[in-house]
Amino acid sequence: MNLYLYIFRRLLYVIPVLFGVCLVIFVLFNLVAPDPAYTLLGKHATIQQINELHHELGMDKPFIVQYLDTVKTAFTFDFGYSWASKQNIWDMIKAGAGPSLSITGPLYILSSLLSISLALLVAYFRGKFIDKFVLVLSIVGLSIPSLAIILFGQWFFAYKLGWFEISGYENGFPNFIPYVILPIILYVFIFFGGDTRFYRAVILDEAYQDYVRTARSKGLSEYKVMFKHVLKNSMIPILTNLIIQIPSLILGLLLAETFFSIPGLGAMVVKAINNSDFPVIKAMTILSAFGFILFNVLTDVLYTVVDPRMKLK
């Protein structure tokens, strides 16, 4: 099938998915989430004020009208203003994306490189000391709650040793650098366990295939065996895992942003949830859904690049 036609067809799936996403967030907001009027109006709110605010926010419209408003937002990307901060939501997203990406971007690259390289190494030395050592380290990383790692990291590396800033953020390059190094290092450790174990399993699965044995018996160097054959043939699940993480980079890291006082999108989402700020929650959910669809299509396209046997249907 023509590549562009395929992409177009897959992108058409966005339509029903966005309808579904809108339905889910609309139902959750109207049936499960607390009434935002009580948060926005404070402890002395009267019923009259609550009713007036419901009217102003359009919460007294019929459900179907409110749902269609949500759908319209999803297709026009006109997210409007935050109920709590009264800021334009696109401006809020623009302001938060930089701080979030300044952590998640380098973190994504570093942690992917580290875990894939280590997975290759331990797969090659399967059963040896290095394999067992990395396995233990992975289990340690997986077992310790991320909150404990953050608290220890802040206390030991930032407070006791004084190597990093404890928390905070300054906008603009290179001002932000001192503030993001510690969270990046800590999160590389937090993610390292799960990712390395996953990539190790994928690589080992390939490393014991007949064609690898054949390659070795043909006298190919281990470098060529591992990189040209094993790694290349493991790329489908690796790519899937790598690309599917990209949309969540934008969402930021909720815990890290809270503990390191980083004004990113993760912190923005937490604040929106606490304030029942529906337009912000809606915007972030729609953008995430859109991102996941887009990157799923990209993954499918890339499959054909790394494995020419695959065809787009």
Partner: protein
């Protein structure tokens, strides 16, 4: 050898990089670094219903009155008013003369981008803006029903296509450029306190018009600081307002604040820049305080045992030059009954529950034994609190509780349905809820703890769908009325009386007391009402909390306070001492 050299080079480079990863403090800079433990909602005075937003707003905006920085009990003094108002004999008309020459901060909203002089009409506009139903002001309650014609103006304008700010309201008038007059709908001596609250701070019409919806993010007031950029971020930096009027540090003080007079007569504000770090989590804030990066912070619950023993600081903190400030807060924690539920009309049941509750243990578990047991609703420091009063029903008196429960008609809890105990959703609240549940189990009362997010919890109380519920009340102003009104019948839900308690005799005496001017007679009336509520056990009063704040030795003029939202202008940094003390860090 070659490998070793490479390793050494890598390690040295890493150390060099790491050493550049922290910013060095400049002790010579007069910069105040403080923490806001909650996100700032924005800078619209009429929406300043939480303490932290109120504090930020008060750096930029000002009102007619303020509390004297160095006097306790709290004392109202003029701020943008030239003097305290002239009050008519019937206590209905309040006439203020405004301070001349006070200017709004420079902004493009004004002609020539230069801030203009504040006039009485600006106050009229600001009060109407608070009343305008289109603005959904969280602070409307302070004036609701208080000023002649204001409620009618609000009601009428809510039905029009646009609010008519030009329409005159009898209750708030500009008599001339510098004379402002309020007429109350009925006597309400507490009215003056509302003029020291952020809700009634003065704003400029042009600025509101210029920024529209985003006015909340563009604060332009008359206050000591300006905020060049507000992006709802985690670091808010204020700089001195270059057009701030001549305002000076007070020269008089109550005995407990006589040691804070070294800056008496100096022009305010005393520091050039204020940096507010929004830090919701206490642990990083505590580390920053211990590193000297912030100037004061309350001791987090989890660090209390290591930092403070027997109300004294640990040796390590003393060596670093820290000073511990302990101050009672104007608040009360309590478990309320919903009196719409007939079950709680049974006074003996309420008394049995109170007798069964181990307040001392609760104080140790949840407040590090630092709070004062609340014998009644009015906290110490407010007229109406009865010194040395002991509530006869305050636990733990287990045997008496069991006897009382039997007299209530439920021996050993038999016949008593399971009671729902609603609490806001947070770890400390849940722990306290479970503790209360266990305490009641001792006499056979079964409770079901239900935790809900704060807005949902609030909605349940307002809709009267709770049975018993736990919460705390902090003073909006230093008058017993602010506490007693929590049980005033006409304030029933959705008003502040979430208990829906309605006793005609109490209501009558409440009205009598709250319309009296401050006097020994009024205090006696407040005490009587306070004791009545305590012995009726209208709620299970828990504790009055105390603030435990650590400040650095270089910080000058600080004292913990509940109501001085504008405290920052009085604080100072001793830069020489800071440089010296930082050597110990």
């Amino acid at each position: 050898m070659k490998m070793r050299n490479i390793l050494l080079t890598v390690m040295c480079s890493a150390l060099l990089v790491l050493s550049g990863c922290t910013k060095k403090q400049d002790a010579n800079e007069k910069v105040l670094n403080i923490v806001s433990p909650a996100e700032i909602k924005g800078y619209d005075p009429i929406q300043a219903d939480d303490l932290y937003s109120g504090r930020e707003i008060s750096k930029i905006y000002e009102g007619l009155l303020q509390y004297h920085w160095l006097k306790m009990p709290y004392e109202l003094v003029p701020n943008l008013a030239e003097s305290l108002p002239e009050i008519s004999k019937d206590g209905i008309t309040y006439t203020f003369k405004l301070r001349k020459g006070v200017k709004f901060q420079d902004d493009i909203a004004f002609a020539g981008a230069k801030g203009r002089e504040v006039e009485a009409s600006d106050f009229v506009y600001s009060i109407k803006r608070l009343a305008d139903s289109r603005n959904q002001a969280t602070g409307w309650w302070v004036l609701d029903g208080k000023l002649k014609g204001l409620n009618e103006w609000r009601e009428k304008n809510s039905k029009l296509a646009a609010t008519n700010y030009d329409e005159e309201v009898e209750g708030v008038k500009a008599l001339d450029k510098y004379t402002l007059q309020f007429k109350l709908a009925k006597k309400f001596p507490q009215f003056l306190y509302s003029l020291a609250m952020p809700f009634t701070y003065v704003v400029a019409k042009e600025v509101v018009a210029k920024y529209g919806k985003e006015f909340i993010n563009h604060p332009i007031g008359t206050g000591p600081y300006i905020l060049p950029i507000f992006d709802q971020g985690k670091k808010i930096t204020y700089v001195k307002n270059p057009t701030f009027r001549e305002k000076f540090y007070p020269s008089e003080a109550s005995d407990e604040f006589k040691n804070l007079l070294s800056d008496a007569g100096k022009k305010l504000p005393l520091v050039e820049k204020v940096v507010v770090h929004v830090m919701v989590e206490p642990q990083p804030a505590w580390l920053k305080l211990n590193k000297g990066e912030i100037d004061y912070y309350s001791v987090p619950k989890d660090n209390f045992a290591t930092a403070i023993k027997n109300n004294k600081l640990s040796d390590e903190l003393v060596k670093k030059g820290f000073i511990l400030e302990i101050a009672p807060q104007l608040d009360v924690t309590y478990t309320a009954f919903n009196f719409e539920n007939k079950l709680f009309h049974n006074k003996k049941l309420r008394q049995a529950m109170y007798l069964a509750f181990d307040e001392a243990k609760s104080n140790t578990l949840f407040f590090n034994n630092t709070a004062f047991p609340a014998q009644s609703i009015i906290p110490p420091g407010i007229a109406g609190n009865i010194k040395d009063y002991k509530n006869p029903y305050k636990g733990l008196k287990l045997e008496e509780a069991k006897k009382m429960l039997a007299e209530a008609g439920y021996p050993g809890g038999k016949g008593l349905p399971e009671i729902k105990y609603d609490i806001p959703d947070s770890t400390p609240s849940r722990q306290a809820g479970e503790f209360f549940q266990k305490q009641m189990e001792q006499i056979g009362i079964k409770l079901k703890v239900v935790s809900s997010p704060w807005p949902e919890f609030q909605a349940k109380v307002k809709k009267k769908s709770v049975e018993i519920f736990g919460l705390a009340w902090g003073a909006d102003y230093p008058d017993a009325e602010n506490f007693l009104q929590l049980f005033y019948g006409p304030n029933k839900s959705p008003g502040a009386n979430g208990s829906n308690y309605d006793n005609p005799q109490f209501n009558k005496e409440f009205v009598e007391a709250t319309t009296m001017l401050d006097s020994p007679e009024r205090t006696a009336k407040y005490e009587k009402l306070n004791k009545f509520l305590a012995e009726e056990v209208v709620a299970l009063f828990g504790v009055h909390r105390q603030a435990y704040i650590l400040e650095h030795g270089w910080l000058k003029n600080y004292h913990p306070t509940d109501l001085h939202h504008d405290a920052i202008q009085y604080l100072n940094i001793d830069t020489a001492k800071k440089a010296q003390l930082l050597k110990n860090f």
